[in-house]
Symmetry: C3
Subunit: 374 residues, 3 copies
Amino acid sequence: TRGGPEFRSTDGFFTFHPRGRLGFDYSTTHGSSYDDRNIAGTEAEALRLGAEGNIGAMGYKLDVDFVDGTTAVKDAYLSWDTRMFSLPVEFYLGNHLKDRSIEGSSTESRLPFMERNAVASVGAGVNGYYGLGGMVRVYGKNWHIGASITGDDLDNEGTANDSVMYAIRGTYAPIKTANGFVHLGAWYYYENLANDVTSINNVPRIAQHFNDNLRVSSSSISNPTQDEAYGYELGGAYHSFWSFAEYTKRTIDSADTDVSDRTGKSWSAGWLITGEKPGFSTRSGIWGTTKVLRPVTSGGIGAFEVAVRLDRYDFRDLPNGGTGRSTTVGVNWYLNDWARVMLDYVDWTTDNKVGSYKGLDDGNSIGLRALLSF
Amino acid sequence: TRGGPEFRSTDGFFTFHPRGRLGFDYSTTHGSSYDDRNIAGTEAEALRLGAEGNIGAMGYKLDVDFVDGTTAVKDAYLSWDTRMFSLPVEFYLGNHLKDRSIEGSSTESRLPFMERNAVASVGAGVNGYYGLGGMVRVYGKNWHIGASITGDDLDNEGTANDSVMYAIRGTYAPIKTANGFVHLGAWYYYENLANDVTSINNVPRIAQHFNDNLRVSSSSISNPTQDEAYGYELGGAYHSFWSFAEYTKRTIDSADTDVSDRTGKSWSAGWLITGEKPGFSTRSGIWGTTKVLRPVTSGGIGAFEVAVRLDRYDFRDLPNGGTGRSTTVGVNWYLNDWARVMLDYVDWTTDNKVGSYKGLDDGNSIGLRALLSF
Amino acid sequence: TRGGPEFRSTDGFFTFHPRGRLGFDYSTTHGSSYDDRNIAGTEAEALRLGAEGNIGAMGYKLDVDFVDGTTAVKDAYLSWDTRMFSLPVEFYLGNHLKDRSIEGSSTESRLPFMERNAVASVGAGVNGYYGLGGMVRVYGKNWHIGASITGDDLDNEGTANDSVMYAIRGTYAPIKTANGFVHLGAWYYYENLANDVTSINNVPRIAQHFNDNLRVSSSSISNPTQDEAYGYELGGAYHSFWSFAEYTKRTIDSADTDVSDRTGKSWSAGWLITGEKPGFSTRSGIWGTTKVLRPVTSGGIGAFEVAVRLDRYDFRDLPNGGTGRSTTVGVNWYLNDWARVMLDYVDWTTDNKVGSYKGLDDGNSIGLRALLSF
């Protein structure tokens, strides 16, 4: 039932699912006062091979991405499914997307837009979206709690102590019916930074991934000692309509400068014109598969969705911190449950105090993506 | 029916084919006046994992090569099969071998020699054999046309505009019977080079891939603005005999120097002693699988082929351009449809004007390859 | 019957086995006089994807590891199974673990400890555990001989001659019954070093892989010309008990300094408390799969093993050579035939004459590993 085959032993004890993802982008930017920002080009967004499977209650997953001639390990974990106090519990060991905000916890290929929102990028810790460690998820009927303790990324060197992040997130669906749901969520993490983290220089992209010059900038923070962030989530769906709002504030302590804050906000809404339901999992609070009613590969027209998102980046708590805001209008054509074509129009404004693109600058970027993920 | 299994859903809607390639080379060179050219050693030529499959009319392929401790993405595309004007049409999006010359369009593991010919290497554009973009192929009964628009390679950086190549190739088989065929082909591309292409320094190898010092050299061309190339193909097969001739001329414009030309010529012929037919696809104009009549893995003797190739490299249109010529005699032992052992004897001459190996120099290189590809 | 599925054509002619390995480590060190040695952290030990299969008598295997954001090809070979003089013979071409000492010849995921022993690391040649070339193994009823000729590693550059290693190993089981066995083994290699090997700087780790600062050091040997090593193996098993002793001496010739020796010794013993037999293959003289009687994934308690190992490193034949000794106590919990949790306590002492950690220094390292391998 998946795009890549899923193999099962007769008794269902063994399963094996080869995984693949191919994503190709075209991006073009106009209107910036800086020529180097008005660039266009193609790019592979994802080129992944992997494997996923189960041996009884034990599971495993390994995804490796090969874009840009490099090797980037994404999900790479062992898992164990069990029940405690009659609740389903999942344990993960390894590299797993952290439970942190809606779009930070969701795999990028399931999001309704080409890029993650401001909350996912501004609220990210030094250890990023992944981090090697342990995670547990407990599920109730209409809620879940996910907690993790993670060390450095997979590629850290063994010459110093790891930074350690303690993270927790809870989601709750007070209303959950056949016609829709209401989603509430909150999350928090604390990160104790090791000596080998000599600076924090988080400059999130504001339009398509292709364009490295479109970023909200801020001076690098030297000798950071610890940081923490929290966030809120509110949203819901009714039939084919959906909307979500997210907020985050990240606070960074440094041995050299004052404590500083950074905030990100995001609001989005969408409509599946062809009648599908939003592929949002109320159980885990993440974006999942959009089940297409009339797949193109079966002679149908596929699913069409229009969506809009507003993002706000605010780094002004530091003297050299910039701001950014963007409005994204997206049209998605889901060919089937595994393939989609995405068109994103992003109207963006940055007001940077440092870097190559200082001062108020605005423009628009158009992105086109073809994506297959199984 | 393939060396790696091909899995199909009962209705044939889903297919999945794990792919692999392993190639190991030994190469030794003698007779050069330069000690550094007379080197010997072993090398992995290909170490690939990948996946290929279909979801109805939609297809995908992803091949990654891991030789030399690096990651090189080869074929990586989404495809769509359809019919237009009652002709079969294939659309490709992503990274696909360009339709350019016989040996440039063929996957290396299907060629009758260990390395591609002079036409493939001299006629290659800045974006190389691959290039991220779109391709379409239309097939008639005895012809095909392939056209593509491609941007930079997969690993380009998003800080500048892409170079863009417009390429087209057509092949035609005026005679096509059970006993043989005649093949005609022609191709052309125009490449508009972006600012980040600051020089062209194409110095093709003239013997086995292992030996980095055996090259036809030329001074680097600074600030190239555009280039174009065309080529012709003529060949055919009769029973177990085959022969092909190819020619290419590439023209490079530069802001700094005069327009300059480079030409490559190649002629080859072969005989499958054990009676197999050449694995050449008249439909696509590329080398495909040699179907072995008596596979070694089924107790037979395999297929034996002897082949010869002449290659000419001419870069003399530029003051510092060298020339090269080589004669290759090859013996191929096809163990079955997926595995082969290749022995290539290359008698080469280079006359370089620049680089570490100036002046008339000649020698011979012997290469041995064991290859499995599924 | 494997954790990853093994697919077979109906007649058994084709087989295909997707491979995967995930290993995650936690390591912490205390007691060293040097703060930089007392570090703790997490690390991925193995993140592998691969494929293995057969086309009749022809086999292939390709394993690629993606730890630390890099690409490391491990096993990558073509093989052929046949009989000569009515004995089973296996030919390998490509990258294969050399037949050299018990723990050097065994894949790391099958060893009873987290790291290979002193004999494996001290006796390794410049070309390491792997090496591109040809290998043959002949099997008798209770013995085997393995011989190989290998060139440089897979990632060597083609600008110089390869170093070439000639290696041989034989094992013999004079006693081999249902209750146990006695194992005898010996091995030797000679390595002719090419000009591009300008120094030998072998500084083996003495505790967990994570800690790069815990090494036995020695001055680099410049301009080495050749080296050789030999080793002895003695061991056996009785019911659930096993014990092995190994010894090696490596001799390095240099154009600059005197011939120098390095020795390594190792003794280990273990007990599978839950009654399993040691997963040692008397046929090949390597560690294989421990067959778990009561797998956790089938509701059992798994297999438990306690083991101890003593290692000695002696580089004192050179003026600046250090010494090291370690005692490892390990507890292994085998969840099933593919997954295990390992706890290693290592009490170590180094006496280095060069490097950042000179003089007598001791401490202890605790390592924890979760490992899945199929």
